[in-house]
């Protein structure tokens, strides 16, 4: 193989169509006679439905039908959850249209089917619904008491409790004993606020019921899982359903779901016999597409006075929201393996209780479980460094796995194949100018400057490439973690690559073309990558968990290698040589030691015409491969943030951000940079900007982009990103995964930086997002305690949830428009 494409910063071939929008996004699809759907959603977070009057809506112009939960109760089934984390996990039934009980504000209670989108929208105003409101449970600590139930029929808010204990697993000691014997124990409670994935393209679904197969186009990350789940949920033979994910505008885990809206559109199309479309509004997307994070993390970290960590105990409360989505219960569990991160502990215990609340259900969101774990351990490391008056980088150095110790079996039962934390950290410190910035911080601290400087440190590793199927099996996940690919050589020598992963902005078409171009020695531009249609890519497990390249890319490599072997047989036959004498390089098969040879394209044509093939040779070069990874891959990195805090206003400014990631070999550095930059912004947004805020009745207050603050390029500096390269040893490409890296490490780096700037002013913790208001309040509280006073750390800082009357400040005006 000649490597010319791999490692080249090719511009993405898919970008022109994606960026201009001249492409098949689901909402661009228009079919003859297509009907349009609009949803009626519950305004209450918890209520019983006592009556629904659809009479006026049904007779409204253009309306074809109105569906209520009762109308479809027999056929809608219950939306699937593929990850029962314990055998006794509890879950309420999850109807696509609520029948008589709603458990969060935004739940669908009726659907109008009309000839135009406007008529459907008009008619939903005419549906009259009587509700009896029920008490709501919103807070996790409160949910744990079962005093108020999110689902009274369930009898409890507790879905399941999942435990990992190093003593039981035989990977380490008993954490209680170790903590009791430790010279120092830090006890902390950190909060992971709820986040909204806020992908750029709102969700949209079109279903065409005409023809032998029902076809669903959907803005989804998971067409294959969706097809399987639709078949299971609605009892449609799997072969009769085709799912297409056309171009999809982002997901971040938010489109790793089988949604009520998809099921409803399917039901509507089957009822009416006509193509149906549903496209959500941005408000609906923020309110009713699944949310992410939402955890209370109670932590105990033991250490020696020299700064050697002895053990960690993690006790989580995880917010499921009102229902269990496709992988909801497993999200916090994915974090269980990452709390030890890059460090060596003697003892570790993780326990997580999954709880129902009357809010939109949660599920995967970029990083899924791993950002939470990384946040906890990296905050703890900084708190410990402060406690011991030690440099935070030095403290980490003392505890991390040294590069010569790989492969390393962790206390959480994972086998880290490779890594070099020293190299990444040294490079990051150098690029950052760590010593100079620390000196500046100390100067400004001593001078009592109005704007203080803080240095935030975070390292991370994560488990990427979901996942070895047997591991998923051991975790009770319903499906495997393999991936499929097919490589086809057309008579012209052009190549089609079919992949089972389902890109939605990642640049797979470009990266896969680069891999195959090198592997087969064909030009980049003659490779076409096909994906996202269950009729074209018949097998696959789709895109999430930084798996596409590590698992799907490896399947592509394996399929390409099979093509080469088939072509070698044909070449040997045509060149009248033994296959052992045929060499393959740069797209040409040649007879060793001669100038005789044939290009792959020539062999492809010869195979197509099939006039002269070896006896018994099946006339096709096309090859399939299914790759099941043996292990995860473990990218890692060191991130540093210089944070400025205006002590008068509480305003926080990110001045400089440096990250050095190690993601193994790189296929396309430009795509990698894009993933890292975007990931950083999302992680920084959790630290500083984004929060799903509900009022005390459970209504989403941050229900538009006026209040749900997604930062833009104008809010952030240029990032300095660099890489060290320690190839993964668990796959032939030596790649790891990069889709989630930036999101995982940046959140703690930012918060650590904010705290470093103002810890000396008596601030011990600030709940995320660290808004100016919260920072200012923390400074006020710190000042009232006396500057720098060594106060005991508050057990928990509750997030502010001002539920005062919403006025115009940044909220949508209503006053003038009654």
């Amino acid at each position: 193989m000649t490597v010319t494409e791999i490692g080249s910063p090719r511009r993405r071939k898919e970008d022109q169509r994606l960026i201009t929008g001249r492409t098949r996004y689901t909402d661009n699809i228009v079919l003859p006679g297509m009907l349009h759907l609009a949803m009626v959603r519950s305004p209450f977070a918890h209520a019983t439905i006592t009556a629904i009057d659809t009479h006026d809506a049904t007779s409204s112009p253009g309306v074809v039908a109105v569906l209520t939960g009762r109308d479809v109760a027999d056929e809608q089934g219950s939306l699937p959850c593929a990850w029962p984390i314990t055998p006794d996990q509890k879950a309420p039934p999850h109807p696509a249209i609520a029948v008589d009980h709603v458990a969060f504000a935004g739940e669908v209670v009726a659907c109008v089917i009309a000839r135009s989108a406007a008529e459907a929208r008009d008619a939903i105003e005419l549906i009259d619904i009587d509700y009896d409101e029920l008490p709501v449970v919103l807070d996790l600590e409160e949910a744990l008491t079962d005093a108020t139930l999110a689902h009274p029929d369930l009898g409890t808010n507790k879905s399941a409790t999942w435990v990992f204990d190093s003593a039981e697993a035989g990977t380490g000691d008993d954490v209680a004993q170790v903590l009791a014997a430790s010279e120092l124990v830090l006890e902390r409670t950190y909060l992971q606020q709820r986040l909204i994935p806020a992908f750029m393209e709102p969700r949209s679904t079109v279903v065409d019921p005409t023809g032998e197969q029902i076809t669903m186009w959907s803005a989804t990350q998971v067409p294959h899982l969706l097809r399987l789940m639709l078949a299971l949920t609605l009892s449609i033979p799997e072969g009769k359903v085709r799912v297409v994910a056309p171009d999809v505008g982002g997901g971040f885990g938010g489109k790793l779901q089988v949604t009520p809206e998809e099921v409803i559109t399917m039901l509507a199309a089957r009822r009416t016999g006509k193509p149906c479309k549903y496209t959500e509004t941005r408000s609906e997307s923020l309110m009713a597409a699944h949310h992410g994070r939402g955890q209370v993390q109670r932590l105990k970290l033991g250490a020696t006075r020299e700064g050697i960590v002895t053990g960690l105990s993690v006790d989580l409360l995880a917010d499921m929201g009102a229902y269990l989505g496709l992988v909801t219960p497993g999200v916090p569990i994915l974090g269980a393996f990452m709390y030890n991160s890059i460090y060596k502990f003697a003892a570790y215990r993780f326990s997580c209780t999954n709880l129902f609340t009357n809010k939109a259900w949660t599920d995967a969101y970029r990083g899924a479980g791993r950002p939470e774990a990384t946040f906890a351990i990296e905050r703890l490391m900084d708190d410990l460094a402060h406690e011991l008056d030690m440099d935070p980088v030095e403290l980490r150095r003392k505890n991390w796995i040294k590069h010569e110790e790989f492969p390393f079996s962790t206390i959480a039962c994972l086998e880290y194949d490779s890594g070099n934390y020293e190299a990444a950290t040294d490079r990051a410190l150098e690029l950052f100018g760590y010593d100079d910035l620390c000196a500046e911080r100390d100067r400004r601290r001593a001078a009592g400057d109005r704007v203080q400087l803080g240095i935030g440190v975070s390292t991370f590793t994560e488990m990427c490439g979901l996942a070895p199927s047997r591991v998923l099996g051991a975790l009770s996940y319903a499906a495997g973690g393999w991936e499929h690919a097919q490589v086809r050589v057309l008579p012209t020598g052009a190549v089609e690559v079919v992949t089972g992963v389902s890109g939605h902005g990642q640049g797979h078409e470009t990266a896969w073309s680069q891999i195959v171009a090198d592997r087969l020695g064909v030009p980049f531009d003659s490779i076409e990558v096909l994906h996202g249609d269950t009729q074209t890519s018949q097998k696959g497990l789709d895109t999430y968990g930084s798996r596409s390249l590590v698992v799907g890319g490896m399947a592509v490599v394996a399929a390409a290698d099979k093509v080469i072997e088939k072509a070698r047989t044909v070449a040997a036959h045509l060149l009248e040589a033994s296959t052992d004498d045929i060499e393959f390089a740069e797209g040409r098969f040649s007879v060793r030691g001669t100038d005789q040879g044939l290009a792959l394209g020539e062999i492809a044509f010869a195979t197509f015409s099939a006039h002269n093939l070896p006896d018994g040779f099946e006339p096709s070069l096309d090859s399939d491969a299914t790759f099941d990874p043996e292990n995860f891959s473990f990218p890692h990195g060191t991130h540093l943030a210089a944070m400025e805090v205006d002590t008068e206003t509480g305003e926080v400014t990110l001045r400089k951000y440096v990250c050095v990631d190690d993601i193994g070999n790189v296929i396309n550095p430009m795509i990698v940079d894009g993933q890292v930059h975007g990931g950083l912004v999302q992680g920084i947004a959790q630290a500083l900007f984004e929060e799903a805020v509900h009022d005390e009745s459970g209504t989403l207050v941050s229900g538009s982009f006026v209040d749900y603050l997604v930062p833009s390029a104008a809010d952030l500096p240029s990032f300095t990103t660099d890489r060290t390269v320690t190839p993964s040893t668990t796959n032939a490409l030596g790649v790891k995964g990069v889709g989630e890296a930036g999101t995982i490490a940046s959140t703690p780096a930012i918060v650590n930086g904010v705290l470093d700037a103002i810890r000396h002013l008596g601030v011990q913790d600030i709940a995320m997002p660290c808004s100016p208001h919260r920072v200012w309040k923390a400074l006020q509280d710190g000042a009232s305690k006396g500057l720098g006073a060594e106060e005991p750390v508050p057990d928990r800082v509750a997030p502010e949830q001002d539920a005062g009357p919403m006025n115009s400040s940044g909220n949508l005006p209503t006053g003038d428009f009654q």
Binding site: E648, P711, P772, H773, W776, K777
Partner: protein, 284 residues
Amino acid sequence: MIPSAFDYHAPTSLDEALTLLAQGGDDAKILAGGQSLIPVMRLRLAGPELLIDLGRIDGLRGIEDDGDAVRIGAMTPHHDIASSALLGEHAALLCAAARTVADPQVRHRGTFGGALVHADPAGDMPAPALVLGAEFVIAGAGGIRTVSATDFFEGLFTTAVGEDEILTHVRIPKHTGWGARYEKFTRVAQQWSIVAVAATVRAEGSAIAEARVGLTNMGSVPIRAESVEAALAGCALEEAAIARACASAAEGTDPPTDTNGDADYRRHLATVLATRAVLSAAGG
């Protein structure tokens, strides 16, 4: 995000627009740049049956010298205000504030008149207009009337412009040579003011001769910080003195509480931002 159905007219004269408005009654609404009205219609918080677009009426757009004042047509977009040399010379505060409104797209469509009539308490144009002593020219069935800045902003989203009236022009008395600063506090770049302070200052030597200070989003209407203005008259051009003069900036205000901060925080911000705005306006 589909609004309910409405009729649309784009008259070419003010008289025609006023007639349509009178005929339409409660169900009619003026459409200027649509940057506030269209979003609330799409969210179905408003459902006018008739929109009367002022965009084709000559003479409602533009910035002109009018003797001791600058005359601004109601349909002048924010962008034109932000980049006007005439206003830069005589009412620099307006330019400074207009530059902080939203993003370039919104500034090219949203209008000065629309922003004033809309009277969002977090909107950035009302406080500068108030402190500069703007005069509002309003046309109605009964003819033209002029309303002073102190009488114009009546409450949350309500102004002196009646249901059947149209704001045609705003006269801004010249503040030639006055320094200006609009200090807007937000969490992300494209956001409405959490609090903002509009300050314009005439300095003489090393002291402030006169100052005008207005507050955005510290109550249901823009507020003029009169006690601060009084304390600033004759105040030395130096941070500590200015901060002392600005200490009363939040007195008598009634700021909101929301996800961006509570009322106490806003009061605190108002004093900090007032000091910064005045210092900067005075060239400090």
